[in-house]
Amino acid sequence: MTTVLCADPDEAVAGVGDGSTVLVGGFGMAGMPVALIDALIRQGATDLTVVSNNAGNGDTGLAALLAAGRVRKVVCSFPRQADSWVFDGLYRQGRVELELVPQGTLAERMRAAGAGIGAFYCPTGVGTPLAEGKETREIDGRSHVLEYPLRGDVALIGAYRADRMGNLVYRKTARNFGPVMATAATTVVAQVREVVDVGALDPEAVVTPGIYVDRVVEVTS
């Protein structure tokens, strides 16, 4: 349905329910939708499952959401970083669950959710603790693990520019998880640096077509 241009980040995250699975874009701080996360903290949804590559940096963004006690579980590939003290503390206290997923499998599971793939056999992680308990199958002489789609109720992503139909372009490596998460959630919210008129984006260079984007909010930093 038609993409809604929101007046501010609070309007953009309205209605996120307790217990939701929230896909959060970004790789480190590149592409991280900080204004949307801040708005989600104000909005108050709790008992969240957060799917993101990392588990927060410093005291802002995802780290602030974690510090506010809103996150029940983190699904990510790389929680431990030099400045991930908020997650580290909560994890060591047993106050947040962790599902660790290889980075490519994390992306591919969301891609499968967005692409209507029921499950897929993946060679990554075979024979490692991250494949324990998972169904495996030998295909073409190689072992594979069966992986299932990973869906979000909401995706919060950061992009560079949006047009008024919700078409998105990204900038450099800040593209990272945004285009995949945009396909994998029921409600997709994009924080962009600039909203441009329809026709201002090159149709050959649109990365996320507006069909995937429910709400857009311009955040000039």
């Binding site: 209507g116 047009d163 139909m165 649109v206 507006g210 995937y212």
Partner: protein, 231 residues
């Protein structure tokens, strides 16, 4: 269901057969059918129109409807057919007909285009059919004739992937038999996928309980059900 008459899988409307409105003086032509389909597409929908008659639906979408057309060969915001100088061999619809690009268009490759379809991101697709069963099974890719060369294209992907599948067809084949059937005899395209059937004679909702008549054209619901029973 137990209290309603089931003829060739066709039930009456919400109340009973006599309550089903007859909304046109005679059978509809393909343009009128297309207009009817267009009327039922919610504003702002993302829609794929199958090749052939469903393409006509585009002509009847009201201005400002915000409906965005998808073509499975890799584009959103497809415009009308290209005329004269607009013709560009690099820009066609799924039927390989030259088309135009509307502002806000986006291009993508086939795997992404079908991921979009299969992933349930299209609100509506409109397809033609050889046969549709009362429960919504669709047969539209192969007559099963021994000398026919089968060709499926994106029909199965659309039937499986779109949130709502509308079918547009004549209700009766040239030999007078109904193309709305209790169970398809032609090879299937998809199971229980069609939610609404637009025909020249009537519109039906299809579902697990069978086909429910919504409106008829040029004949009463009772006459139509009788004809279907014989077909």
């Amino acid at each position: 269901m137990s209290t309603r008459t089931l003829v060739a899988g066709v039930l009456a409307g919400p109340a009973d057969l006599d309550a089903v409105p007859t909304t046109a003086p005679g059978p509809l032509d393909k343009h009128a059918m297309a207009a009817l389909v267009a009327r039922d597409i919610p504003a702002g929908s993302f829609v794929n129109l199958g090749i052939g008659q469903p393409t006509l639906v585009a002509d009847h979408l009201p201005a400002g409807s915000g409906v965005v057309l998808h073509t499975e060969n890799g584009m959103l915001n497809m415009g009308p057919a290209a005329l004269g100088d607009e013709v560009d061999p690099d820009l066609t619809n799924a039927g390989k007909v030259p088309v135009t690009e509307l502002p806000g268009a986006a291009y993508f490759h086939h795997a992404d285009s079908f991921a979009m379809m299969r992933g349930g991101h299209l609100d509506v697709c409109v397809l033609g059919a050889f046969q549709v069963s009362a429960r919504g099974d669709l047969a539209n890719w192969h007559t099963g004739a021994p000398d026919a060369i089968p060709a499926v294209g994106g029909a199965m992907d659309l039937a499986t992937g779109a949130r709502q599948v509308f079918v547009m067809m004549t209700l009766f084949a040239k030999d007078g038999t109904s193309k709305l059937v209790p169970s398809c005899t032609y090879p299937l395209t998809g199971l229980a996928c069609v939610s609404r059937l637009y025909t020249d004679q009537a519109v039906f909702d299809l579902g697990p309980d069978g086909a429910v008549l919504r409106e008829t054209f040029g004949c009463s619901a009772r006459e139509l059900v009788e004809r279907l029973g014989r077909g």
